[in-house]
């Protein structure tokens, strides 16, 4: 592909035509037909944030119940449902959909410099199916059919013998919905990153956040099937009398734990790595220099992706596994600390050698450093089998994973929101309110969860709905509950700040942070076609590194929604592809798939009969309409024609 000398373009790009070509439908039905990644990304973020607030309400109820001994405000049955739905919501309906799908779907195509995500209809379908899965879990709770066997639903407790009724079935099918969603988005993101990067954005120049989303997509692809398999086995044990987890008939309850944690531990990294990627994106922007150790960080992200699959048995130290296994998984667990530590040192070095601007997003990044570090250190303690045995199923573990997950995901999430909301809404968020939010949340969080380390060490088990006064856990529990109030107050400040800023905030302009990646090269919010001009790239921070006369791409049609496809390694232009336009079919397909899934809870024939409308809507989705596709000549010939 030759780059020409400066020329006068014969057919200048016409913004009006681009806007007409890429316009998404408006109005009530238009909402269900929109397939642009910015709209779907924002929906993922907003919906998952609503689920986060709902999960937070349940957390507040837990803290209310545990605030004093012998409290009977909530009975044991409802308490079981509350902590189960709280955990399931935070993991499956908030953390992954926000950190992987929400941020990924919104920012990845913009950072790649392309006009839409690959397979936009699959992306839209993934959103609707996620919403139905979330509603299923919560409707179950309000119908007194809330899942109550813990967020990992161990057998035999969740099996047909100990949980009759439909509670575990609702949980198991919610898993199917949310994992189908994550898998769909993984395919869209991986393809976008591998094939739609701007020319010049070679793998060597690819921003860390794209590396992380790529690794994450593959982690989702290899991890999520495990939980789909195991939740389907559970559902079949409960509905059609399979015997997978029944020891009396050759089954084994530990098979459940193996399959669940083969998903479950990579899941921790699926939640943490997006947080780390946000930090890797923000630190150079606010340190005003390129990131230190780009290659080391990328290597660490890839290494985490691999090692994340080799540590699942550390969740099972108390199940009586052989000593050799325990030693191996202890070593593997300690090893995975290394790539995370490398990233920490690279962030510190970047800040150390940069000119730090302590703006609001960076406050949350520093909060992340502090909180996640404590979570990491207690994780190293738990990797040791004797310590794990001592504190297994106590509040020490609850403290640990809240430090890891809230530190690793929630603090970076708020950093990311304060950073990207100006791009999404076009307006800056209020700095003072943001700081009030941070300090309320930071202090409240540590009051609540640091306290739990001591509760755990004093023997308080998790998942008990109350405790007797003579255990002397009351004072610390009250402190933890007061901390939850601080966190809630912080969240209220954030919500007020968001709506106030959205209505009256200072206009952000295209690049309020003077950042270097391509999402800041377009207006805030971006138009439906993302970029008027398509960029070529000359460095890892294109807006910092590009030459003044950096070439732009010409020759991509603007009368049809066409994108440029580049190759995976060197980002060389290869061919052009027409994107599918707006369509109601992804929404309709999500409805038919939902009917089949939910029907299967009540009858195994639900899948068989439910498949018929699914096939009809899929054919409706994929059947070619409109103008004929571009002719095959000239075609890029691949291996098939040789």
């Amino acid at each position: 592909m030759a780059i020409s000398e400066p020329i006068v373009l014969p057919h200048a790009t016409d913004e009006v035509r681009l806007a007409r070509t890429w316009a998404q439908p408006r109005g009530f039905w238009g909402w269900f037909m929109n397939v642009h990644h910015t709209a779907i990304g924002v929906r993922f973020m907003v919906t998952s944030f609503i689920f986060f607030l709902l999960g937070g309400v349940l957390a507040a109820m837990i803290r209310l119940q545990l605030s004093r001994p012998e409290n009977h405000a909530i009975g044991p049955d409802l308490y079981n449902q509350i902590f189960t739905i709280h955990g399931s919501t935070m993991i499956f309906l908030f953390a992954v959909p926000m950190m992987f799908q929400g941020f990924g779907v919104y920012v990845v195509p913009l950072i790649c410099g392309t006009r839409n995500i690959a397979f936009p209809r699959l992306n839209a379908f993934s959103y609707y199916i996620y919403v139905v899965g979330g509603l299923l879990l919560w409707v179950g709770l309000f119908l007194k059919t809330g899942a109550d066997a813990g967020w990992f639903a161990y057998t035999p407790l969740s099996g047909p013998q100990f949980t009759p009724g439909k509670r575990s079935d609702f949980w198991a099918q919610m898993i199917t919905f949310t994992e189908v969603s994550a898998l769909g988005v993984a395919i869209c993101l991986a393809t976008t990153i591998l094939r739609q990067r701007a020319p010049g954005m070679t793998l060597n120049r690819m921003p860390i956040i794209l590396w992380e989303k790529l690794v994450l997509s593959f982690m989702v692809i290899f991890a999520m099937p495990a939980v789909m398999v195991v939740s389907s086995m559970l559902l079949m044990d409960r509905t059609i009398n399979t015997q997978f987890f029944n020891p009396a008939n050759g089954g084994d309850v530990l098979l459940y734990q193996h399959l669940f944690w083969f998903f479950g531990h990579p899941e921790v990294y699926i939640i943490f790595l997006p947080g780390a990627a946000i930090v890797s994106t923000l630190v150079p922007v606010f340190a005003r220099r390129h990131i230190f150790g780009h290659l080391a960080i990328v290597t660490s992200v890839v290494a985490t992706g691999f090692l994340g699959f080799g540590v699942w048995v550390h969740h099972m130290f108390a199940t009586g596994i052989p000593q050799m296994s325990a030693s191996f998984f202890t070593a593997a667990t300690l090893m995975i600390v290394l790539p995370t530590a490398v990233q920490f040192y690279c962030w510190i070095a970047t800040i150390w050698n940069g000119r730090l601007q302590m703006k609001l997003p960076m406050l949350w990044v520093f909060g992340f450093f502090f909180v996640f570090l404590i979570g990491g250190l207690s994780g190293v303690m738990l990797a040791s089998v004797p310590v794990d045995w001592q504190v297994h199923d106590t509040f020490f573990v609850v403290a640990h994973f809240h430090y890891v997950l809230i530190g690793g995901a929630l603090f970076p999430m708020f950093a990311g929101l304060y950073y990207w909301v100006p791009k999404i809404t076009g307006r800056m968020m209020n700095d003072l309110l943001g700081k009030v939010h941070f300090w309320l949340f930071f202090i409240g969080f540590n009051m609540t969860f640091f306290t739990m380390h001591f509760l755990g060490l004093r023997g308080m088990p998790r998942r008990v709905y109350t405790y007797p006064p003579e255990m002397h856990w009351g004072g610390l529990n009250m402190l933890a509950s007061v901390g939850a109030l601080f966190m809630a107050a912080g969240l209220i400040v954030f919500i007020v700040n968001f709506f106030q800023s959205k209505a009256r905030g200072t206009l952000a302009g295209p690049n309020p942070w003077a950042a270097g990646s391509l999402e800041w090269a377009t207006s805030s919010p971006p138009p439906d076609y993302n970029f008027t001009e398509l960029f070529t790239v000359n460095g890892r921070e294109p807006l910092w590194d590009n030459a003044p006369n950096q070439p732009i791409v010409s020759g991509v049609r603007d009368d049809i929604p066409e994108v440029l496809i580049t190759n995976s390694l060197d980002s060389e232009p290869q061919h052009k592809d027409e994107m599918p336009g707006a369509s109601i079919w992804p929404f309709l397909t999500s409805i038919t798939v939902s009917i089949a899934f939910i029907w299967s809870i009540f009858s195994p024939w639900g899948i068989a009969y439910g498949a018929i409308p699914v096939v009809i809507t899929l054919i409706g989705w994929l059947w070619p309409r409109g103008h004929s596709p571009a002719p095959r000549q000239p075609a890029l010939e691949g291996r098939w024609s040789k």
Binding site: E5, I7, A12, T191, F222, V229, A630
Partner: protein, 203 residues
């Protein structure tokens, strides 16, 4: 509105609008999809061998599945690679007649596979509710049958498009990608046959 712009440009107007082979984005998505499904098969295979360790004999009480229909279906699966490969060869030519022929052949093979699969199920010598052995056997073959039916519907749908002028450009690439997916269905069938019909006889 004509704008005058004085910047060097990377002119991509001459690039093709269709790609065959691994440059095609749907090809990549199909590979990723096969990774997901392959992981599911791998996890079920792992579960199968894990459950084997939980009992003294394998199968625990039943006879192994009847070999006849499994072997015949395996051979039919392998023969079906011929129309699948033929479809992949003729797709880039855009010859709708030959594409229809290839896809019809592939669909007919899939029908024979499905009928034979029915006989396989009837002769597994176990039910899914008997014990964990029966559960994993039915899950394995059930997962694969789901893929077989999906692939049949996909092939028939593309065959339907091949009877219209819409079978052009990127749709031709879809014909070839469909064959890739069929290879996956055949490959997973061979592996599954080895486990269902082979390991039940010597494990």
């Amino acid at each position: 509105m004509e704008q005058v712009r004085e910047r060097p440009v990377l002119d991509v107007s001459g690039l093709p609008s269709v790609a065959f082979g691994k440059s095609n984005t749907t090809w990549l998505a199909n590979v990723l999809y096969m990774m997901i499904e392959g992981t599911m098969f791998a996890l079920l295979f792992a579960s199968y061998f894990y459950l084997r360790t939980r009992t003294d004999s394998w199968p625990p009480v039943q006879d192994p599945p009847l070999l006849t229909y499994g072997v015949i279906n395996g051979i039919v699966f392998l023969l079906s690679l011929i129309p699948a490969r033929y479809a992949q060869k003729v797709a880039p030519t855009g010859d709708r007649g030959r594409i229809r022929l290839a896809l019809t052949g592939l669909a007919l093979f899939a029908i024979v596979n499905m009928v034979l699969r029915g006989f396989e199920l009837a002769n597994l010598n176990c039910r899914w509710y008997d014990n964990a052995y029966g559960s994993i056997m039915w899950s394995l073959i059930g997962l694969h049958t789901g893929h077989l039916i999906t692939e049949f519907i996909e092939t028939v749908s593309i065959l339907g498009i091949a009877f219209t002028p819409k079978m052009e450009g990127t749709r031709l690439a879809d014909v070839a990608i469909n064959s890739d997916y069929w290879y996956f269905v055949v490959g997973s069938a061979v592996l599954m046959d080895f486990i269902i019909y082979g390991t039940t006889r010597f494990l």
